[in-house]
Symmetry: C2
Subunit: 183 residues, 2 copies
């Protein structure tokens, strides 16, 4: 493949991914795939070359969001206020989980390998990101020494699953933030 | 019906309910109904007279646990430490939700009336119990004035849905307790 064709393929892939994130977001994990190709401005045949099945598209969209979330966490490690940075990231995590519940379900976290492997990998990336942010917040005195990153991530997950709306999610995160402070 | 037969019927009902709670708890909402009658020491025909369908048994078990939980909450309104009382009750609520998840699913909270009515009633009882405990804790200065009972109940629900084990549930509740305190 020439460099030009490689660049074309890469661009098509990115456009399909962006269109899929939009269309799945609007119409759910069962959205018509034709609509994704149409919105990306790419033929169905090309789409199926990149993503042979719906599941391939769903996994790519989900993986892309996890990657973005971890990148945002890494960037927040340079933020001025480590406590605020940790809770900004947890807020983004809550939005991710709340928004991608149906997608996660459609991919099937309880399925056998290799899907369970994928989920394990994503889970590990999230834990690592949360761990680094918690550690920095701890050094700054914004989080008590006995608070585990895994516990905070579980709590954020619970908030995402249960909050009736974004306002309630924000209040519950604020409550968690008050709960982890040194006193 | 004579008073003696009414007392017999009541006793059979109570024994079936206790056996059903045990058997569903051990073997899930799909447990064989014969096993429930056997453990209660009551014939199948009598069981079906009291509970014509599996769903009737599931609903009775669930309703009984909600009633017990609300009674425990009412008793805790007399406890010496209002903050401890509130979080003891939230701990019992978390155990209830975590243990009855499959049952709740089997009954079907999203079904049409009259089941959605049942769930609405249970939800209202829980909110009322939580509200009274929070109000008392607030008056004692154990809970800040801006913390809503509905938010605490949602958080406890999230903890029940997400905690990997009882230890994590306890730690997350302790975190919530620290988060609602006056400072």
């Amino acid at each position: 493949m020439t460099a030009v064709r490689r660049a074309d393929a890469r661009r098509n892939y990115e456009r399909l991914l962006a269109a899929a994130a939009e269309v799945f977001g609007e119409r759910g994990a069962g959205a018509p795939l034709d609509e994704i190709a149409r919105r990306a401005g790419i033929g169905n045949a090309t789409m199926y070359r990149h993503f042979p099945t719906r599941s391939d598209l769903l996994i790519a969209v989900y993986a892309d969001e996890v990657t973005a979330l971890c990148a945002r966490g890494a960037a927040l490690l340079d933020a001025a206020d480590p406590g605020a940075a940790l809770f900004e990231w947890l807020g983004a995590f809550v939005a991710h989980v709340a928004g991608k519940r149906e997608l996660a379900h459609a991919i099937g976290p309880d399925a056998g390998p290799p899907r369970s492997e994928l989920f394990r990998g994503w889970h590990a990336s999230m834990q690592e990101t949360a761990g680094a942010l918690v550690e920095r917040a701890r050094q700054a005195g914004a989080v008590r020494a006995d608070v585990a990153a895994a516990d905070l991530l579980a709590l954020a997950n619970g908030i995402a699953l249960t909050a009736a709306d974004d306002g309630q999610a924000q209040r519950l995160l604020a409550l968690a933030r008050a709960g982890v402070r040194e006193r």
